[in-house]
């Protein structure tokens, strides 16, 4: 009986691998729908900008606020800049953006493809000699995989700016030494590993959202279930894969 909770876990992994390989297999095949790819990039990337930026800004601000208070206890408040920037760039931007995007984009993919499934639009595609993975999943997955690192790069900048606002404007730190300290300990590997994480999270969110949508059963209730599962499974996948990616990349 102890095995039961893992059964669902392994089933998800099996389904995920299947859609992952099918997406890879269909990607190079014609016809390439570049218009749909760009449309999806705007939908998942540009339209997500406000919520990602807001998340990053306030995360940077809270980080600065917390670390300033704690570090000032032993007179180390000059390290606030590097603490905020390194946490944002290496970890927080990618993970928090990933969770927000899973809620915004992953759920939308699950709901959209789920509705298409229960209204027989997926069947209609198949009858019209169109593979749903080729037509629906491929552009969504690559759009989000490409847009996530861009979103996270902007989030990095805004998080650091949020930290600056709190440290310098609110807490009265020296702006020059704060900025100096912000970039003092950062190297290119910190930045690139965060962006690699972002790309992986983007791919995970899109694949899971599409997979949940395509396997929807049972009308409106089923669509609701797929939408929820798209977010829950993607969020858990982000947190678990984050550990392994961090281990691998640093």
């Amino acid at each position: 009986m102890a095995f039961v909770p893992f059964e669902g876990f392994f089933r998800e992994i099996g389904r995920f691998s299947q859609i992952f390989w099918r997406t890879l297999a269909w990607t190079p095949r014609r016809p390439w729908d570049l218009r749909e790819l760009f449309r999806q990039m705007v939908r998942v990337g540009v339209d997500s900008l406000p919520v990602v930026l807001l998340t990053a800004l306030f995360t940077g601000m809270v980080m600065a606020l917390q670390t300033f208070t704690v570090l000032s206890r032993f007179g180390a408040e000059r390290y606030v800049g590097s603490l905020v920037s390194l946490s944002m760039v290496r970890e927080l931007s990618a993970v928090l953006s990933g969770l927000v995007i899973a809620g915004r984009v992953g759920s939308a993919m699950g709901a959209e493809l789920g509705t298409m499934r229960v209204t027989e639009q997926i069947d209609a595609l198949q009858v019209m000699a169109t593979d749903p993975v080729h037509y629906l999943v491929v552009p969504r997955v690559w759009a989000l995989t490409a847009m996530m690192p861009l979103l996270v790069l902007i989030a990095d900048g805004l998080g650091i700016y949020g930290g600056y606002l709190v440290a310098v404007v609110l807490m009265g730190a020296n702006p020059v030494s704060h900025m100096e300290n912000t970039f003092q300990f950062m190297d290119l590997n910190d930045l690139s590993s965060g962006l690699i994480k972002a790309a992986v999270f983007g791919m995970l969110i899109a694949l899971i959202g599409c997979q949940q949508g395509l396997s929807t059963r049972g009308g409106a209730e089923g669509v609701g279930r797929s939408t929820t599962r798209s977010v829950v499974v993607a969020s858990v996948a982000i947190l678990i894969s984050d550990f392994f990616l961090t281990k691998l990349l640093f």
Partner: protein
Amino acid sequence: MKSFGAKVVLDGVDLDIPRGDSTVIIGGSGSGKSVLLKHMVGLIAPDAGRVMVDGTELSTLDNRELTRFRSRFGMAFQEGALFDSMTVAQNIEFPLVRLDIGSAAERRERVQECLQMVRLEGAEAKLPSQLSGGMRRRVGFARAIAHRPDVLLFDEPTTGLDPVTKDVIDELIVELKERLGATIVTITHDMESVFRIGDWIGMLYEGKIISWGSPSDFRGTTDPRVGAFLGRKTVAPHASVPSAARTDTA
């Protein structure tokens, strides 16, 4: 045989669909008619048994072959299954674009022709959400015939329509058979339509084809289960027919 979980839907269906004729499958709600139809185009695979079309067994085809094979089919779904994000014209043009049929101008002309056939001239630019249920179904019908397939499958094309539209659809089915020489399989429980459009009629009951014959055979059947469906009791022998497409799930 086909079952979903513990529910056995089809159990020992043995059916030959004659080429170039119009076959109607009747049966009560939930009798597995739609499931049977989806087997014919490989949308659902049988748990046991075979589906043969022109000597090709569908289960032997891989994903790509099946996708190509389906270009011979046109299918109209119960609620239309139109793509929400596309206009009526784009919906009808979809199979032509995917199968790379004709130039842009020829495709536009074909869309007009199809819309005329279903008496929906002038609806090109509308979105599915702006159409009534009957109109959506007629657009689905136009989309199914746009690429002039050899085999047409209609899933309850007239259920819930007003009498005038019903007549239009019935006439259209008869006209399609005569003009295109297409093999047509319609599933319905609308008895008026059955006798108007069917060259052959089969009745699906508890997962099996329990009765098969021409409309006149059917009118005079002794089977009480068929009689109950027809709303009367009469007598006649069954007929056997030549076969082009064979659905045989055991």
